[in-house]
Amino acid sequence: MKCSEWQEIILTDYLDDQMGKEQAVQLEEHLLACHECLEFVSIARKAVIEPFEHAQKAEPSERIWHNIKKAIGEEQESEDFASWWDRIKGFIFIPKPAMAFATVVVVLLAATFTFERYNQQFQISKRAVIQSQIEDITYVVEELASFSEENNSYVLTGMEEYFL
């Protein structure tokens, strides 16, 4: 194995103590023979491991838990309100958009159908009225005609003659 390959392993598995036993033995043997890689181990440890070994850890402020607790409380309140609202909704029918649309369509169809039926009945009754009017007129015309025929043989009285 080349030094560059060993150095890649040094930078990760070796420094993190994650190497297999066999490979670790091979690397130790290589380090005994290679000054460059031995120096690399020392520099790498100082550069990328040691600064973090002394890294301080911060204590989270109590304010964080206070804010979390507050946010949870608010969420629970809104959940309680939502469940209360759901219960109310059980009693009151509130159509959802799709339901409302379907309802409007059904109402429109029903209205159209009813109007059509009414219109048909209206047309029929209108025709019947016209028919009866025609019959009436025909009757009057016939009556007048028969009257005029009768009138030809009618002898007027003296008074009728005077006025006519």
């Binding site: 890649e8 520099i43 550069a47 990328v48 890294a55 850890k57 989270p60 964080i64």
Partner: protein
């Protein structure tokens, strides 16, 4: 980090606030520190920590014990911190970024001669800032929190070789940054 019993988790999942507080007390330090190392500022870390625990509270009832609670919390934390960090970097002014790099170079120079706690703290912060968020997450979990490669892979939902590769690239970047300083010290 204390171990939380399954019974306690179940109680917290049912909305028992005392049980949830026990979960919080057990994991808050880990969550806060990982978030802080990834997003850099304490105020941002507080926000991420709150977000993480609210996510845990909302989703705890669907936690099926397929992984340990610890692994699940690691994952939620890393995702929240990385998302926050990415959101921050989008809004970050390029000039600020450049100035930070100059500032970083100054700190690294000083750090070689002063080994006190304050400087080491700044050194760690500045070293982490030079990494990509993904590399940073791996290095924080390994170097500061001491997770194994396997645990990091589970927490990040990655293959173990991807974890190894991110650690390698991140450390390579840090090594390039500090190599000369260390050689001069020696």
């Amino acid at each position: 980090m204390e171990n939380i019993s399954d019974e306690m988790i179940a109680r917290a999942a049912q909305g028992d606030q005392a049980a949830f507080e026990a979960v919080y007390r057990s994991f808050s330090k880990f969550v806060y520190n990982v978030a802080w190392r990834i997003v850099h500022a304490h105020e941002d870390a507080e926000e991420v920590t709150q977000e993480v625990f609210l996510t845990i509270y909302r989703k705890l009832s669907s936690f099926k014990f397929q992984s340990t609670l610890k692994t699940w919390i690691y994952r939620v934390t890393i995702n929240a911190a990385l998302n926050y960090s990415k959101k921050l970097s989008k809004t970050k002014n390029k000039t600020t970024e450049y100035n930070e790099q100059i500032h970083c170079a100054g700190i690294l120079g000083e750090a070689q001669v002063r080994a006190d706690k304050e400087h080491n703290k700044k050194l760690v912060e500045e070293l982490l800032k030079t990494l990509t968020p993904d590399q940073r997450a791996c290095i924080v979990l390994r170097n500061i929190e001491g997770l194994s490669y396997q645990e990091i892979a589970e927490a990040l939902g990655l293959n173990i070789n991807t974890v190894r590769s991110r650690l390698s690239r991140g450390r390579e970047a840090l090594l390039q940054l500090r190599k000369e300083v260390i050689k001069n010290e020696v």
